[in-house]
Symmetry: C2
Subunit: 133 residues, 2 copies
């Protein structure tokens, strides 16, 4: 007697596009739902919840592949959540690296910008000269 949802309703409740649900199914992020006699997919509310979880995880900067790893850990290892830790921890490391790179870039860009006091002739603009060194 659980209220099964067709794809339109399910995607609306999860706040995603219809194609997104089919895409997640292809990517293995959600299991292929049962089909009714019509051949229509019939989603459980749990799947809607799962899709919301996926969307939330994306906001944490996790890629769909990383999220899949996460979910696979939940599937397979009933025992503990070490796998989850590893995924998150390695994502933190990634993020730190990206931050370092971006900080470097910002610093360099600022130097580039400051090197040139506007309105000079282009061919002697230090910005182009720096890029060309």
């Amino acid at each position: 007697m659980t209220p099964l949802l067709r794809i339109g309703e399910a995607s609306a409740r999860a706040g995603v596009n219809i194609q997104t649900l089919r895409y997640y199914e292809r990517r293995g992020l959600i299991k292929a739902p049962e089909r009714g006699s019509s051949g229509y997919r019939e989603y459980t509310p749990e799947t809607v919840q799962l899709v919301k979880l996926i969307k939330r995880a994306q906001k944490f900067g996790l890629s769909l592949n990383e999220i899949k790893h996460l979910l696979d850990f939940c599937e397979n290892s009933k025992v503990n959540c070490n796998g989850l830790h590893d995924v998150i921890a390695s994502k933190i490391a990634d993020t730190k690296e990206q931050l370092a790179v971006l900080n470097e870039i910002e610093k360099s860009l600022k130097l580039l910008l400051d090197s040139c006091s506007t309105k000079g002739p282009l061919d002697r603009c230090p910005i182009m000269r720096s890029l060309n060194d």
Copy 2:
């Protein structure tokens, strides 16, 4: 009497793949070079230099489109380098925004990780619970 370079030599000197030169040509980043009687492209050393500049600009986090804007300014505005400033300044703004987002993400990930002391049962792991809230 300038030593013209065919694409293999030019790409080697610039440190990029042959296809990359053709790709940059299609994207309008470098001008289509003259063709010899054989129909082969004949690059000047200046083009090689330009490609190196493009590669350096990429390391500053600039996209090919942004680099094209930059180069177009150099082409068109013989007068001053305000355009260059604008490109760089807006890139700095972008970078700051990305930094802010990444910092947020890192903070959240750390909270997520710290919320769970390893080796507990999976179904009560706060990581999954947080994602599922």
